[in-house]
Amino acid sequence: MTLMALLGDYTLQNVALGALFLGLISGVLGSFAVLRKQSLLGDTLSHAALPGICLGFIVTGARHMGSLLLGALFTGTLAALLVMALTRYSRLKTDAALGIVLSTFFALGVVLLSYIQGTGNAAQGGLDAFLFGQAAATLRSDLWVMAAITAIALILVGLCWKEFKLVCFDPGFASTQGLPVLLLETVLTVMIALAVVVGLQMVGVVLMAAMIIAPAVAARQWSRRLEVMVPLAAVFGMVAGLSGALASTLGRGLATGPLIIIVVSLLVMASLLFAPGRGLVWSWLLRVRQRRELHHQHVLTTLHRLASRHDDHAFYAEQGLLEGVHGTAVRPALKVLAQRGMVTLSTQASRQPRYWQLTLEGQQEAERILMAVEQGGASS
């Protein structure tokens, strides 16, 4: 199939658009959740959507996207409130409250699901596709619902950008400024339920947690500014959603949800390793470079000490002697120092073993290092 034919495919268009919406909304809203250390709330809310989907179906008796999602939003919000109530009015910690609400709401969903299957309503077919998502079954009408929810969430974020930002980073200061912190936090939480609702069709209730967390964590590695992080998270989310959804059309038995999650996890890994500044690879390289630099300084000061002990600033130190002090790693160090013009090899180059001498520049540098060490300051 050519690229054009692929783009023209009706199902594929739907899947791609749905994945884009999902990536957009979960990236944006997930950023706030991760910054507020509420990552796992997404996990709880997505599991809690299952009974809502079933309720929506039971009430309307049809597999209509709007009513199912309304149900999911309802139980999701209820779950969020219950988590708040449990942590506030009982001695349970947040993690226990999250786990409790997650598992009991999901259990309720399982019970309702089995009830629906028992009623033999023909329209219920594929209701348990919401467990893992079923991107290929996305209809144009579903897309309208998803688009509307995404638009609402984005407009809200746009309108309350400054307020949300403040609540994320300094809720105490926000409340002294007269902002309704509790209301804003509730809105942010309910909006996570919105993101979950959009993701149900694409990745299902179980894996939605990662869709909330992963794009935001990946984006966080690249920037410390919210203005950059949020759009970047949206892009990561969309890339993961699109590539995962497209990959799932390649073969039978390739569920969309898991594929999207694997792609987004790869993005997280890449970001953790290679993001400029924060990337683990860069900090590892930096550490290696610093260690090497420190070694060079050691060699330099050793030469300087030898020279001053012998009262001869042109003292020739035998390489074997230096190796005795610093190990054989002294060879590459001396080579680098020679390149920098800090040391010179004995003029009689043929002489074996080799002898090294500090240059004037090297002498000054060594004195500078020793001075800095003496003063207790960090030398660079």
Partner: protein, 377 residues
């Protein structure tokens, strides 16, 4: 002799109760440590372990399978800790990054090799406790359900672990720094606990699946935690609740013809709700009552001190009357009447017409408060 083993209902209830008991033994310490969500992560990622063990060794049950698949649980915890340690990711986000990936890979592998494995993605999440009695092994000439054997074994191992290291676990849970200082290696103990949690999750997997397991491992201990302060009693209550959830869940599920495992997990949720609302001391109702009782006591004290202050003074006639309470203590008529009635009931005051007089006990109450106040200066 073993006729009960042939009755599906009995086996199902027994397996359900054992899942609850084995989970309670480890879950109690997870909840107390504040690491409940690790149980959620573990129960998801063992799906990966189960499928890998099957692909490598072609076993779907037994000690080898439990041990092998449980290693993925430890892998999850290890990777999560490594992420936290890198200081690039916060704890909660780290948990939520690792297990979805392992779970996703597990589900994909399951899909790709679906024809060869007895579990489908549906079972992964929900389990099939209704069919556990079908899968039996012959033991000493008797057909014993596989799940019963696995869960019984895990319950025993967990009980042994908790029994042997009870003091150490308690110490490591409540004062990790002290435990480390005393040389008890709380980290190692913690990993042992999580390994057993993983093993229990694997053993319970066929019966209740990945997500419902979380209800048994977190919700039951959490409910017990709302009822008592003693770890020993928490474990005891947990056992009782496990059995009750299994029996009631099974009965209701059969009655309404719904998912048995789901209904058992819903029952744990109902226990939690009850403990949350009407539990002694920590329950919402109990707290409201305590607060109301304290407010009542404060009002009685205020009244006593007010009367005492003006006793035998020339203002007594206008201060120590019912009417004055509204103006001087800013009490509404209804509230004043209530406080007076309570004071009369409890024998702190007597009423003669409109005049209120302190009794000896009432005077003692006021003096006790005033003296405490004086001492406080």
């Amino acid at each position: 002799m073993m006729a009960w083993l042939d009755d599906p209902g009995t086996v199902i209830v027994l397996v359900g109760a054992l899942v609850g008991m084995a989970s309670t033994l480890v879950g109690t310490f997870l909840v107390l440590r504040g690491t409940s969500m690790l149980a959620d992560a573990i129960s998801h990622s063992i799906v990966f372990g189960i499928i890998v063990v099957w692909l490598v060794a072609h076993v779907q049950s037994g000690p080898l399978q439990i041990f092998g698949a449980a290693l993925t649980g430890i892998l999850t915890v290890f990777l999560t800790q490594a992420l936290i340690h890198s200081k690039r990711v916060k704890q909660d986000a780290a948990i939520g990054l690792v297990f979805p990936l392992l779970f996703s890979i597990g589900v994909l592998l399951l899909n790709l090799y679906a024809g060869n494995v007895h579990i489908d993605t549906h079972t992964v999440l929900l389990g099939e406790i209704g069919f556990v009695w079908l899968d039996t092994v012959t033991l000493g000439g008797v057909d014993v359900p596989q799940a019963l054997l696995a869960m019984g074994g895990m319950t025993l191992i967990n009980a042994l672990f908790v029994g042997l290291f009870f003091k150490e676990l308690k110490l490591a849970t409540f004062d990790e720094a002290l435990a480390r200082a005393l040389g008890f290696a709380p980290g190692l103990l913690f990993y042992g606990l999580l390994f057993l949690t993983s093993g229990t999750a694997v053993a319970a997997f066929d019966a209740v699946g990945a997500v419902l397991f979380v209800a048994f491992v977190i919700v039951i201990p959490a409910s017990a935690y709302l009822l008592t302060d003693s770890v020993m009693r928490m474990l005891g209550y947990g056992m009782v609740m496990s059995i009750a959830a299994s029996v009631a869940g099974y009965a209701l599920a059969v009655r309404w013809d719904v998912s048995i495992g789901g209904m058992m997990a819903v029952m744990t949720g109902i226990f939690l709700l009850l403990a949350f609302l009407i539990g002694p001391r920590h329950g919402v109702v109990a707290q409201v009552l305590v607060r109301r009782g304290q407010r009542g006591l404060n009002e009685t004290r205020t009244l006593a001190v007010h009367l005492y202050n003006h006793e035998d003074s020339h203002a007594q006639q206008e201060e120590n009357v019912v009417k004055a309470l509204r103006e001087h203590l800013h009490w509404s008529d209804g509230r004043a009447r209530q406080v007076i009635l309570r004071g009369l009931d409890q024998g702190y005051i007597t009423q003669v017409g409109q005049m209120l007089n302190l009794t000896a006990t009432g005077r003692a109450l006021a003096m006790e408060l005033l003296n405490a106040h004086e001492r406080g200066r």
